[in-house]
Amino acid sequence: MPEKNNPPAPTADQPFVISRVFNAPRALVWKAWSDRDCLMQWFGPKGFTMQSVKLDFRPSGIFHYCMRAPDGKEMWGKFVYREIAAPERIVLVSSFSDAQGGITRHPFSPGWPLEMLTTTTFTEQQGKTTITIQWSPLNATAEGCATFNSARPSMNQGWSGTFEQLEAYLQSQQSK
């Protein structure tokens, strides 16, 4: 069956979508996501180093990690895998965590939802692999979900211009 290169259509409660095409076959990309040593090589923002990683890659298994930020701060995070359909899809619940593996609020933004449902899909076309990640807040109220849903298109596309204009303003507010 031919693979479609389009990201999957957003379903309910999936406000954020990020997608990229990698010049590598899907089997290799899947390995980079499912093997602990591989995952350590790339996971996390620029300048962050992995300090501790436990990966149990199976449904109900856990990825528990600690990253050190460039400023020395340590951040713990956790994935709990819900569904693993090699080599096409991974569904997991991500949260901030502590050293013991408990779920915690975001260290700098306590108002954030505790858990995010994250669906990652891998599609291959002519030796290239498209990865698409979709997020939605988990255990949010029905109203909350509807709101996120309605706001999703603007969050994914229409915000950057507004934010650029607002950036200077926000900075001036912070320096007060």
Binding site: A32, G44, S109, G111, W112, G144, A151, W159, L166
Partner: protein, 116 residues
């Protein structure tokens, strides 16, 4: 800030007219009349948008002057932006690293193949 507050912020930001109003207010305090000028909608419609923005805490109305100018409130907007950008940045940067890593892996594979 609570999740309910974040919901309100996102709902307010979902509308393009309201985003345009916020962008205009980023330039400074403005009266409602002044604010309505660039839009092809009625003053009551603008007022309704302003109410949504006020309820989300994104703007405030001065009680002092008679024209009651609108002012942008930065904090809820910043929280919403942080929340979205956190996920975006985390993965954009991870993807950058993954791209390099996959490239290295494939180079290694080719070298191995040649040795065999």
């Amino acid at each position: 800030m609570s999740t309910a507050q974040l919901d309100l912020t996102f709902a307010a930001l979902a509308d393009p007219t309201r985003r345009a109003i916020l962008a205009r207010l980023a330039l400074g305090e403005t009266s409602v009349l002044e604010l309505a000028k660039p839009f092809k909608i009625s003053l009551p419609a603008i007022s309704r948008h302003l109410k949504v923005l006020a309820r989300a805490g994104l703007i405030s109305r001065s009680r002092e002057a008679q024209v009651r100018p609108c002012k942008l409130e930065a904090e809820p907007l910043k929280d919403a932006a942080d929340w979205v950008n956190h996920y975006r940045e985390f993965w954009e940067q991870s993807f950058d690293r993954l791209d390099i890593y996959l490239h290295e892996l494939q180079k290694q594979d080719k070298t191995h193949a040649r040795k065999k």
